[in-house]
């Protein structure tokens, strides 16, 4: 009986000693080695409730963990030439602008428009934005095993300064490589809103996402995103992220 008590005490204490907090896990994920920059082509297949599909392709270049991003729309033909530039700032609103060739104008858009859907897909501008560590509260909910993969389950609760469209996000994180393999997004009424799954490939020693599947469970719409022609650490210069380069479709 005494031994049992001692073992129980040791178990409880060891849980406290070795357990990782949600914030620590989030920090670990954030500190993971990431490419300095990346270039890729993205194909989005949008499927509506009745199964009707349409596809869109873009070329994008990112730097500094997606804090700087430039995107050119390649198809469908009606969107060809439109381009999007985003620069995230720490202490001021993010810069977001669109090049509209039909108007020959660069149009600044509100960063608080980030809950809007990107190109009619199920990804919002917020979903494409890097989450700042200090804009969320984290709770490590549990550990799970799914399809022989050991996972952490992390709850991300946005603080008011995150200006998020979600009340919270649950992330499933692969314990081996700390990649987010699945996320569930909950709306302001705490109802399940979207589910995202991500597939990765090892490219140049980095776990690189190559396929996203985002489903809006509230309206039955989904988007499959396939990323190809990935180039990492090519030495993208800061001056690429200038408004003038929106006008230059990639060759």
């Amino acid at each position: 009986m005494k031994i049992k008590k001692i073992l129980l005490i040791i178990f409880v204490y060891s849980t406290f000693i070795f357990a990782m907090s949600g914030l620590e896990l989030a920090k670990k994920i954030d500190n993971k080695k990431k490419p300095k920059d990346s270039k890729s082509n993205t194909t989005m297949i949008l499927t509506n409730k009745s199964g009707k599909q349409q596809s869109k392709t873009i070329r994008s270049i990112q730097k500094d963990d997606n804090k700087k991003q430039i995107i050119w729309f390649l198809s469908p033909a009606r969107d060809k030439g439109v381009a999007f530039l985003k620069i995230e700032h720490k202490n001021k609103d993010d810069e977001m602008c669109l090049w509209l060739p039909a108007f020959k104008k660069i149009r600044r858009i509100r960063s608080s428009d980030k809950s809007d859907n990107f190109m009619g897909s199920d990804m919002s501008y917020e979903d494409m934005t890097t989450r700042d560590l200090d804009e969320y509260k984290y709770e490590l909910l549990r550990e799970e095993t799914l399809n022989d993969t050991d996972l952490y389950v992390l709850k991300n609760i946005p603080l008011p300064k995150a200006e998020s469209a979600y009340s919270y996000i649950i992330s499933w994180i692969n314990k081996n490589n700390l990649t987010i393999v699945k996320e569930k997004f909950f709306d302001q009424n705490d109802k399940l809103y979207k589910i995202k799954t991500v597939k990765y490939k090892k490219i140049d020693d980095y776990d690189t996402p190559t396929e996203f599947f985002m489903e809006d469970v509230q309206n039955g719409h989904n988007t499959k995103i396939t990323i190809t022609n990935v180039e990492l650490d090519t030495g993208v210069k800061d001056y690429l992220f200038q408004e003038k380069n929106l006008k230059r479709a990639p060759r």
């Binding site: 509506n48 108007f103 020959k104």
Partner: protein, 421 residues
Amino acid sequence: MVILLQNSVFALGFSYSGKINPSLKYQPSDGTLLELPFRISNINFDIYHGNFELQSKVALETRWEDLDETKIQLRELYIHWYPRFGEVKIGKIIHAWGYADQNNPTDNLNPYNFYYLFDTGIERKIGSLSGSISVNLGNMNVEGIFIAEHNSNKLPYNENDFPTELNEPQKDAMLELENPYEYGIRLKHNIFDFDYSISYFHCYDRLPTILGGQWPILTIPPYNLGYRKNDMIGLDFIKFFGDFTIRTESAYFFTTNQYNKSNFSSKFEQDVQYLQYVIQLEYNTPIDVKLTTQFMGNYIVLADGSGFDMNNMIYSTDLKNIFVPGVGVPFLSFMDRGISFGANVFFFDDRLELETFTLFNIEQFDEYSGQMIALNSSYYFLQNFEVELNYLWIVGNDDENNFLTKMEDFSHLSVGLKYNF
């Protein structure tokens, strides 16, 4: 040399895009077809090499009743260079200034083609032989523009189906411009999440004005028409307030009849200062309907001199009341104040776009002065294929001189098919 040339040619890249867009415009009252020109096709063709691009925009313009008269319009053809410091362009170019949508008091760089006045964006503009240089200096951008020729707005003269009652002026009544060069500079800056721009532009009127003649004889002709000199100072800014966006644009014009007295037997001296402004407020509703309202106006600050009163066909010294701006927002040439409301929404994965726009003439606050209502819809029934159904309804009042009253018969229903490539 041959190898070098061969390498250069093979390093060239090409890209193209465009649309084929046949459309029909019907008068709703009797179902007759409006016999006006339209662009059945637009093609953009670019050749690029390194930091250089040769950009062109070509349109095929036709009329249903006269397909043999189909014309190719070279709307733009210019070299675009992207050096590290900014951009350089030279050739036949359509430029665009201003932060507001559609109605831009500061954007006087190109003339308007009035046949396409109710279209959007650069479809309404005519390219000019010009050059521009844009330099980035941190979060500041400075752009200088030089336009080597003066072009006036293309007006629908003697068109029964564009009822503005405009008659083409006699060529011998038009005065030549001595130095038809135009130039401007614009500085754009971002500070504390606030985008603003300051601009200066020296130009000539885009609309001809009677500037002298055999006065005080109260009949015309003989008369002299010309394009007055304008110096414009512009200021525009964008500011985001929570879910709202404010875009404002204002331009202060100094207009002078700069022609030499020797051109006239009697010259109308004109020195006018006026302000044009557009205040635009945007709001995206939680149900993804984009609402936009614009309040625009034209305010004459000073008007010294005399002119010809086109409404009453008499000579007048009351220049303040008869002055018609020759540049600025086209709608403000016909009304002093207007307010518009627009809404835009997408359905079915952006396949269906619905748009409504209403412009009220509020020149007289206590009296109805007319309105223009547009209902536009487009539906992508196949990838790259789109069907368009638009309705434009123009309502004037009892005043025959009111632009909207004159334009009532231009109300129309248009049906179009668009193939984008």
